[in-house]
Symmetry: D2
Subunit: 366 residues, 4 copies
């Protein structure tokens, strides 16, 4: 089944393995007329590039994007945009152990059972490198949304037990701290926590929050294609995400109706809500308030302590994972969350253009 | 856009409004040869029927299902199964206020903005009655999965701050308590909490958990069509769901890798995991352990205290909602969660049949 | 697999069998704000209703449409429109023979093999009555297109060897002749030909042509979603259609480039073509000239002479078909061709709204 | 809209322009375990490569395929297969005229209107080179089908007025004659016809026939997803195809029911048909007889005589096309037709696995 395709109008297909020739994506359905060059994409890929701090794998990859089609005279033509990043730093490992053993917390066992065998080099298709295609395509979506006044603020809300203090919120810190936390103090504390994890050959998880401002009212469709339902799929489809929240999220179940409802009011910009417990959607449709969603990420499964596992020949063994692994993937996953949210929102925005007959008649009026 | 359609192979389209002629669903893609009659469906609809306890709306609806097509001599024929429930208890309300005012926490404002106007009678398409189509179709999916040894246990984990005690777990209580809690003590406490809410003209939320046993290893596809990603969409597409968790869920972000990884071992049934922190998926593919997922549900937005809001002509008003409304929708939503999970799992199961060339060759071998 | 669903944005799901409770359709994705009532649909269904001439089955069916959802205060709401026609004239036949024997030219054998058994009463799902759902949904599409100045002229071009003379073209005859031919002389000749077929207990085929005027330039997408490719699927999906042509069609293969190319010119309406060999598309995209397409229809397979066939238990037999059958289905299929063309064009028109970034930015500009 | 994506389970996305960096395709949904290397694909691409006879453009392109992902240890892994061909022979033309003028019979005008501008170099995305991605993906489908005993015979049936004589049918000639005709005499006559066209600076069309043997009964789904409907879309989606036929095709409309029906009989292989007027489908589902379909192709629009046209600034001009163009595209399109048929059949075959509950239960039985 076609599991690597995402989107209805703005549709992407990603491909590539950790240790194959490269990682790429084809965008089919990008509107014509967008100014686009490789640098526009590269700035987003750089946010997920390895080797930028002591908390990310020292694997040296430039992750340099090439655009192969879909651009003419600096603009998108409406036809498919094919992009890829060549893999350049595949170390010639000794894969003897990993080729037969199933690493706990990884997709080794399930891939092997599903497909009969697997590309075991560096996780193959289930490697985090798979997200390069998502980020490259997401960058295009973000650029389009920016032209419509839609902006993203995506950051690390917590690492392990260390959470940011909203009173210290400093958006500029997102791109400068190694944790992508918008709070310098929390970031320092998280760095110490991570160092301790590394000392113990262990790993950590965390929470990423994505806020989106400037959405028109009306995105998302009733019933199954609710905007928040599609955002849930988008974020949980990122490897390692174990929970999704919108607005009050899990906390909503503890509130009373009188606490959770957002009262409407009239401002100079028209109708708005006095609070935003809903996180920007009502009935699955954007309500004009900022979208607020969170992805909860599990600790990196690759840890450097001995673990019990089995081989594909049915033998129980102890495995000791080697190689280059991030003690936490949260900071590098921030831009992946942003990319997936942007792809989902852009698709909803394009689909919403056909909601009203009047708008359609007006669109085609000569 | 076609928001009321769900699934790739086993595909459903639901229709109908709270105060229209009825609510229905068409299943397109049900395999041929399943024994099916109206009673098979009715038993599931009865679990979400109103008026079964003091905590659900006294609206009297039989919600009696009729099958209109797709069955011949008691069996599904492979062609579309059309089913519907006639609406019989639409009171002729005075809709003067609600027709122009936007109820806080409801989809009134967003529907109106998206479509230019809305069917304001009882929530129209965004009413909870919309889920009748989901449950009827889900019942068919559950019956098919049962034949493969796949079983569901779905229940209320908490209402407001009252949570079940795992040590008191009594599955038989799910269908007998008014809360659908599998813990008689917790249920009593929750009932008291709800009565207090009602006294205060307020409402409550809660958490529903769904466990699925008997899944083969290999369901779900890598990257975007991960089983847990699709379950996230399925559950968040239910109105009022604000968060989705699988396995450890939000708690995973607090654990260390050494705590969260599930060790593999060999049992007499073959490879299995010693623990199930992952909740039954690895890399988005079912791992043979029980699927464990949770939906967090917000308090019913219809409360009987005065609320501030606006009208569609831009006037600020105070609204006092009347009518028949559940102080908590959690117990009635339990079977909806089960239905959505079943539809998602069955579709993944059908799609998975094409994963291996060997299996395909074997399937078509004469 | 979900074979009864059609369309991407304006998506329909049809259901029902010849001798079941009824035949229906759900439209998911109809824009909000269209004035719509049952009479609007009924006029199209009447064009395919049986019993209107001696050349159509005397089965008495009113084919009266009921709308069950999606309309509020006389207008579409943007939510699913469910419609159905109750079956009222299922004669209680003796199905002993047909239940085990495979009728030549029918889908009996293939349905039985695919699904393991079949609803053999009157063809079940493969009956021509299945097209009621298509026509009801197509009627909605035609009404929307009409508001944009897009008009259909669909007619019988030939029955057996009798073809209309373009010089005699009289559009008003389409709805008045029993053949739906826009040429009174040709119609008379065709009627005589059909009477002869009936005398010989035989049946005839024919050709339906559909012309569409008023399309904007730009509908259809490059490569796989070409407008003509989707029209080909739409028309060949109608049972009994064995060939599809656009523009010069099969004749194009005999022409030279200098004969087949359409020169461009400037008129007061802007760019247009001096001829229309292409039939209204270039590169799969509408070119502003009228769309011209044809569907070639085989003779009705139900004939009243003895035929050799086999039973599902592997016995060779002679079959003598009884019952009520049209000696030619072409006249009743004219409105079905029109409906399928309209559904395809409307979907292309909605999808085309997202082709250009400028149009999108303009659409969402406040 | 995503026009460059095709297929439901075995889904492909193609990309690339005539004068861009290259042309490629991603296959998402290929079953795991197929032995596959670049040579397997190359042999199919060689059949559409330019420069193989005096009747095809002398543009020198190796069209050498590279596989970038999805293969491990010589086998498909179930994950996306990305392949591409680098463009190496883009002459640096003078595009002054063509950049503003619309060539008759080409997609220049419609692309320009749809997207606001176009890549005018060599046709851009609407160039025949686009079909490289189809053929590369189709090759994989053909290899899989071959393992199931499903074989293709695809050939030129006619060029202009010259048609093969079935009595002279010699399949070995398909790959040796410059016309791909399986009849040496007809091929000679066609070659002379083409030389005459070239002398007159004109071009020719023709008919391609594709026969498929070995299909199981049951492929295709009722109503909209009929096998022949999808084949119609597949073939008409190839640029320049103006008509599609299955079985008797256009001739069926002239036959009587008694002539067109295929009688069933019992042979040692079980149920079969005495004739094959239907062309291998009944009710849109494969009936076990060979599939027989035809694509009618228009003459190459690029001719070397003066033609009237207009520019995008609204000026009427006379255009004289230069460059390298085939006087007939039929021989090079033969493998494209085969590829599109194979992609469609394979997808139907994978989808058909879920038709019967019994087969599903059996598939998952431990």
């Amino acid at each position: 089944m076609a599991g690597s395709t995402y989107g209805t109008i703005f549709r992407i297909s990603t491909w590539g393995e950790s240790h194959g020739k490269g990682i790429g994506v084809v965008i089919d359905g990008c509107p014509a007329g967008l100014s686009l060059c490789e640098e526009d994409i590269q700035q987003f890929l750089n946010r997920r590039k390895p080797g930028q701090s002591i908390f990310s794998t020292p694997r040296k990859e430039d992750d340099k994007i090439s655009i192969l089609s879909g651009i003419f005279e600096g603009k998108t033509t409406g036809t498919p945009i094919s992009m890829w990043v060549e893999n350049t730093s595949q170390r010639s490992h000794d894969y003897t152990q990993i080729s037969s053993a199933y690493r706990p917390g990884h997709a080794d066992y399930t891939f092997h059972e599903k497909y009969g065998f697997r590309d075991y080099r560096g996780g193959g298709r289930s490697s985090g490198r798979e997200t390069i295609g998502r980020v490259a395509a997401g960058a295009v979506a973000i650029l389009i949304l920016k032209q419509m006044g839609i902006y993203f603020t995506t950051f690390t809300r917590s690492i392990g037990p260390i959470t940011i203090d909203e009173n210290n919120f400093d958006a500029s810190a997102i791109l400068t701290t190694p944790t992508c936390m918008p709070d310098l103090d929390a970031s320092k504390a998280a760095e110490n926590y991570l160092k301790e994890c590394m000392t113990n050959h262990d790993s950590a998880g965390g929470v990423i929050e994505c806020q989106v401002e400037g959405l028109p009212v009306g995105l998302g469709d009733p019933v199954f294609e609710k905007l928040d339902a599609n955002l849930a799929k988008a974020l949980v489809s990122i490897g390692a995400v174990k929970a999704f929240e919108i607005g009050e999220g899990t906390r909503a179940s503890l509130l009373k109706g009188s606490e959770n409802n957002d009262a409407f009011t009239i401002t100079e910009d028209g109708i708005s809500k006095k609070t935003n417990h809903s996180g920007g959607t009502l009935g699955g449709i954007s309500d004009g308030a900022p979208l607020i969603m969170r992805a909860h990420i599990k600790p990196t499964p690759s840890i450097f302590t001995s673990q019990e596992t089995v081989t594909n020949s049915g033998e129980e063994i102890t495995i000791n994972i080697k190689g280059r692994h991030d003690p936490v993937i949260v900071p590098r996953a921030v831009v992946v969350v942003e990319a997936m949210a942007a792809l989902t929102i852009l698709d909803a925005l394009l689909l919403n253009m056909t909601a009203k007959l009047d708008s359609i008649l007006n669109f085609y009026k000569k």
